[in-house]
């Protein structure tokens, strides 16, 4: 319960804290700090990590190691394909398609088979990796941006996952399922938008 309370506290503190700022309007923040804040200010990345957090909360503790591994491998793969300039168009839609699937999984509140769950986390990671890699230049800068995105992304996943579990304990699973429907709705529309522009 203490961990769920911590997650809920982090989310509440974020809500009561500083107002939302535009991506390029964080005064005086540069270097590592700017990279660390990247997932917070880039909606595509935030969507991915919120989806992953809700998935963790909805799917329970089973297979969490595999899920983290799949998310990490997906991120590395996304960064690699972007760096190699072979990014297929579906990589741009990947976070939203995965967000739709994750949202539906949370909405339906059914445990997914382990391979499907791992694939979902990998595709979420792929999307985050592609978006994050846009900030990179040479391989060193790329490694730095992927590492910082992983750190902040991991913190977001943990905070959302623990907060969602705390809310589930307090109020039942309905708010989690409603959050899943919102996530699926947003992701579905943006998937359509990205695919429309891709074609």
């Amino acid at each position: 319960m203490r961990r769920e309370g911590l997650g809920l506290g982090i989310v509440l503190a974020a809500g009561f804290g500083a107002p939302a700022l535009a991506h390029d309007a964080v005064p005086g923040v540069t270097g590592h700090a700017s990279l660390l804040l990247h997932p917070v200010f880039v909606f595509e990345e935030m969507l991915v990590f919120v989806a992953a957090g809700l998935m963790f909360a909805g799917q329970g503790r089973a297979g969490w190691r595999e899920a983290i591994a799949a998310l990490t491998v997906g991120m590395l793969a996304g960064a690699a394909v972007f760096a190699a300039e072979v990014t297929p168009f579906f990589a741009w839609a990947a976070p939203y398609v995965a967000g739709t699937v994750a949202g539906l999984a949370v909405l339906l509140d059914r445990p997914l088979p382990a391979p499907v769950r791992a694939l979902g986390f990998a595709v979420l990671g792929l999307g985050a990796g592609v978006v994050a890699a846009q900030e990179g230049g040479d391989w060193r800068a790329l490694a730095e941006v992927v590492a910082t995105t992983a750190i902040t992304g991991g913190a977001i996943v943990l905070a959302i996952g623990l907060a969602a579990r705390g809310i589930v304990r307090l109020t039942g699973r309905i708010p989690l399922r409603i959050a899943g429907s919102w996530l699926a709705a947003v992701s579905l529309m943006v998937s359509a938008l990205v695919l429309k522009f891709a074609f």
């Binding site: 009561f16 909606f43 109020t171 529309m189 429309k196």
Partner: protein, 207 residues
């Protein structure tokens, strides 16, 4: 500090979904609003998307009516209808994004207020599946209207997030108001609110 006698027990007697609705609305109301540039970037998209259903009275009355009717029908409609609405709205949004023509969108949006408001006012209690289909049909019109606007938004992703969350907040507001049906005076108030929503929808249809 000691609580007044019965204060805790009254809260305890509230159904969990009522507490959830109140807590959610309170949290949203308490958070700091986005203060970044107007209609630019992520914050601009989020802000325009969030305020679109709130400041568009035709959307507002229909979405409050969904929550109100859900609360009126009780569980499981109270959470099923607000889940059906955004999902079908998203499908309608996709049709708008890809350019599918849908006739009578504005009339459909106005009709949603009239029909859902009347159902609340007249205390109509159809089977759950019928209620879900009714809400879903109207959600297509709302989604299509949003979907056609989405590609032109300053930041389509954050605009999409904003208006889905804005829609959800209106549903929660409807649920919170609808939860008053537990008391006789509240039931009258909720049915009157349904009548007011229907009248507003009629006004939109006429103008």
């Amino acid at each position: 500090m000691a609580l007044p006698r019965g204060a805790g027990s009254r809260m305890d007697r509230m159904p969990r979904y009522v507490r959830s609705a109140f807590v959610s609305v309170a949290l949203v109301a308490a958070t700091t609003p986005g203060l970044a540039h107007e209609a630019a970037g992520v914050a601009g998209g989020l802000s325009s998307g969030f305020t679109h259903p709130l400041f568009g009275p035709d959307h507002l009355v229909a979405m409050v009516a969904v929550g109100l009717w859900g609360a009126f029908l009780g569980a499981p409609a109270i959470y099923l209808l607000p889940v059906v609405f955004p999902m079908v709205m998203a499908a309608g949004g996709v049709s708008g994004i890809v350019g599918v023509e849908l006739p009578y969108v504005e009339a459909g949006i106005a009709a949603s207020g009239i029909v859902l408001g009347l159902f609340v006012a007249l205390a109509v209690r159809p089977p759950l599946a019928v209620a879900a289909v009714v809400v879903g049909v109207f959600a297509i019109f709302h989604g299509h209207a949003h979907g056609t606007e989405l590609p032109e938004a300053a930041d389509p992703v954050s605009y999409g997030v904003g208006f889905v969350v804005g829609t959800g907040v209106l549903h929660l507001a409807g649920i919170a108001l609808g939860s008053l049906v537990r008391w006789p005076w509240g039931r009258t108030l909720v049915r009157a609110a349904g009548g007011a929503i229907a009248a507003t929808g009629l006004w939109f249809l006429a103008t």
